[in-house]
């Protein structure tokens, strides 16, 4: 017992910094504690003072980060921008139709990138359902020049022609789930072809784009179509923006008459302070005139009201005139869309198609549309 007590004393003595020979009495401890408390308070005050100083002169922001090129090479560093559009729908027709029920809409995969200092490339693959079988098709595959002076750009490959308004827009940017009747009847929905395109943009504050295309067309020599187009646009105040155009598509025919298609398009967008995604109105109309084997005209007009960031509603009227055979279909469509974000929407279309006199087809269509991958930048 005694030896244990001695061992404890030795330990205590060793652990005390001063190697005190005897255990300190309570009074000494109390004094020491007071000293420590005073020290602590002084340290606290010093910290507060430093904090206050720091508050008065915050540190300068850190320097810009070094470019992210350090280290070894990354084989994926040059991967192109990759974006996927998913689209599916359910439709119900009052008249007997083949395309009722569930179906996969146009779902596509797009890759794009600068190729080098002079070219940009884009490839769009689209899944389409043809008579019950899925087909993966090359919707667009083209290169663009990026370094021509004087406001010129040349495009080569397969691309949607720049005629009209909707024709050069991908269907997923449309305000309605289906294309207007004249597009379906005159251009099979959308005219894309193999060829070359030249566009020139005027160096003026008025937007003025002129251009033309040489395309494959349907003739045997594989260069049977050409187009010319002009688009102009601008602002009226900060709340209004407009875009208008005239276009001409000429297609050679191996037999019979060549076909000429003339288009005029007009778009007007109004939104308070120019915040179109938070409320505003879009008006659009396009006019078609076809001369050739068929002599017919077509037009549509649409108005879309953006209620707020999430909701949008619109109405469109389409019709085609054909004096020769009297086939003059019309179509009404009312749409309500809910945008969850820039990247997804759900849409309801109620339509009435009149393809033959006296027999209306009432259409209900529900659609989802989503985009993921690289953030798309949409055209006006």
């Amino acid at each position: 017992m005694k030896s244990l007590f001695h061992a404890g004393c030795v330990l205590a003595a060793l652990s005390s910094p001063a190697f005190a020979a005897e255990p300190p009495d309570l009074e000494t401890l109390a004094i020491r504690l007071q000293q420590l408390e005073a020290d602590l308070q002084a340290a606290r005050a010093e910290i507060e003072q430093l904090k206050a100083q720091a508050a008065l002169s915050p540190p300068a922001p850190p320097p810009p980060p070094p470019p992210a090129t350090a280290g070894g090479s990354d084989p994926n560093a040059f991967n192109p921008a990759l974006s996927v559009i998913l689209n599916g729908e359910f439709s119900n027709h009052s008249a007997d139709g083949e395309n009722e029920g569930f179906s996969l809409g146009e779902s596509e995969l797009a890759l794009s990138s600068n190729i080098d200092d002079k070219f940009y490339g884009q490839l769009t693959l689209a899944v389409e359902n043809e008579d019950g079988a899925d087909e993966l098709g090359v919707e667009e595959a083209y290169i663009d020049s990026t370094a021509l002076p004087g406001g010129f750009t040349v495009r080569a490959g397969r691309f949607f022609s720049n005629i009209g308004y909707l024709n050069n827009h991908h269907a997923h940017t449309d305000n309605f789930p289906d294309r207007p009747l004249p597009y379906e009847l005159f251009l099979d929905g959308q005219y894309g072809d193999d060829g070359v395109q030249v566009r020139w943009l005027a160096p003026t504050d008025l937007y003025l784009e002129l251009g033309g295309e040489l395309l494959r067309g349907d003739s045997a020599d594989g260069r049977g179509a050409h187009t010319l187009f002009a688009h102009a646009g601008g602002d009226v105040g900060i709340a209004n923006a407009w875009l208008a155009g005239v276009s001409w598509l000429h297609s050679d025919a191996d037999e019979g008459r060549d076909r000429d298609l003339y288009l005029a398009d007009f778009t007007w967008k109004w939104a308070p302070d120019g915040n179109l995604r938070d409320g505003g109105v879009q008006l659009r109309s396009e006019w078609f005139r076809e001369d050739g084997e068929q002599e017919r005209s077509g037009a549509y007009a649409e108005a879309v009201y953006r209620i707020n960031r999430r909701w949008e509603t619109g109405y469109r009227y389409d019709r085609v005139w054909n004096a020769a055979d009297g086939y003059e279909p019309t179509r009404h469509g009312a749409v309500l869309a809910w945008h969850n974000s820039e990247f997804s929407l759900l849409r309801l279309l109620l339509g009435r198609d009149r393809f033959e006199s006296g027999s209306d087809d009432n259409v209900l269509l529900l659609q989802y549309q989503a985009a993921f991958g690289a953030h798309g930048a949409h055209k006006f």
């Binding site: 508050a55 008065l56 002169s57 915050p58 300068a60 922001p61 810009p64 980060p65 940009y120 663009d144 990026t146 370094a147 021509l148 002076p149 004087g150 406001g151 010129f152 750009t153 030249v198 020139w200 943009l201 005027a202 160096p203 003026t204 504050d205 008025l206 937007y207 002129l210 033309g212 050409h226 010319l228 688009h231 102009a232 646009g233 601008g234 602002d235 900060i238 923006a241 407009w242 875009l243 967008k269 302070d273 120019g274 915040n275 179109l276 995604r277 938070d278 707020n308 960031r309 999430r310 974000s341 820039e342 990247f343 993921f372 953030h375 798309g376 930048a377 949409h378 055209k379 006006f380």
Partner: protein, 297 residues
């Protein structure tokens, strides 16, 4: 057809050389900064106004026409304009600004805050390169100005001395203003705020404001009533100093929360032109600090 293209070529050749360096500024603050450094030597086009949400601009024809004629694009970068600027550049057929010296992004010149360690759109409007709203830290604005002046000189060597001179003058006035603002804003240090969108990260860092939540449930997602209701208790418990929104944002959600908590709403200009006082960059910060101080009970 041949005649048509010949005509196009003639039109292009007839274009007169621009006398002044033409700057296309995506946002008003960068238009103002370019004017500070360039004065009359520059022609500055500003793409957007303080009342517009710059995340959500349309690639309007008028903007394409301006990019077509620009010598320098001066934008925020960090994907703020990702929904429209690439389309403007793709359609403008102007190789001068498609990259290289004619492409100047403010966020590339400074360190950014809130860089996410992983990106997922389920988390809302996430910017892989960090928060893009760098214009509300005047120290960063000076860094951007310091990088811009040599770029202007590179594009327009004839006026190099002018840009250097104006930068020095701006820097002197700006440093004095920063000292003034910091002294004035000292009472704001440590105050807590609820903000509409994460637009204020740089202002908060500079002034020592603490953001405890946002009115948006996720960045870029409009406020929902469920999310706002959840903020009522937090705002009361934590004694929030102010609810901060920008001039371009819908004030309704902020007012709703304010009515239920008694916390004042402060509508800040966010950029040049956002209110009467914010007529230039100096006015922007004068107004921002005055309005924040004005929220004190």
């Amino acid at each position: 057809m041949k005649k048509f293209f010949l005509l196009l070529a003639l039109c292009a050749a007839a274009t007169p050389a621009a006398a002044k360096l033409r700057v296309f500024a995506c946002e008003p603050e960068w238009g103002a900064l370019a004017s500070e450094l360039g004065g009359d030597a520059l022609q500055v086009d500003v793409a957007t106004s303080a009342l517009q949400d710059v995340h959500q601009i349309e690639a309007k024809p008028s903007l394409i026409a301006k990019v077509r004629q620009a010598d320098l694009l001066f934008c925020t970068g960090a994907d703020l304009e990702v929904g429209w600027l690439p389309q403007l550049v793709r359609q403008a057929n102007n190789p001068k600004v498609a990259g290289g010296a004619g492409w100047f992004m403010a966020a590339d010149q400074v360190s950014t805050l809130d860089r996410p360690s992983s990106v997922d759109r389920a988390a809302g409007d996430v910017h892989p390169q960090g928060n893009p709203h760098v214009q509300l830290d005047p120290r960063r604005v000076l860094q951007i100005a310091t990088a811009l002046a040599p770029r202007l000189a590179q594009l327009d060597p004839a006026n190099a001395a002018l840009y250097a001179e104006r930068l020095a003058d701006f820097g002197t006035r700006w440093d004095a203003a920063i000292a003034r603002w910091q002294a004035k804003a000292a009472p704001l240090r440590g105050k807590t705020v609820i903000v509409h969108h994460v637009s204020w990260a740089y202002l908060n860092e500079w002034l020592g404001l603490q953001q405890i939540d946002t009115l948006e449930p996720k960045p870029g997602v409009p406020p929902t009533s469920a999310h706002l209701a959840g903020l009522i208790d937090r705002a009361k418990e934590q004694g929030v100093y102010a609810i901060v929104t920008a001039a371009y944002q819908d004030e309704k959600p902020a007012r709703w929360l304010s009515e239920r908590t008694g916390v004042p709403v402060v509508v800040l200009p966010f950029t040049v032109g956002g209110d009467d006082q914010a007529r230039d960059l100096f006015g922007l910060f004068d107004s921002t600090i005055d309005k924040l101080l004005g929220a004190a009970p």
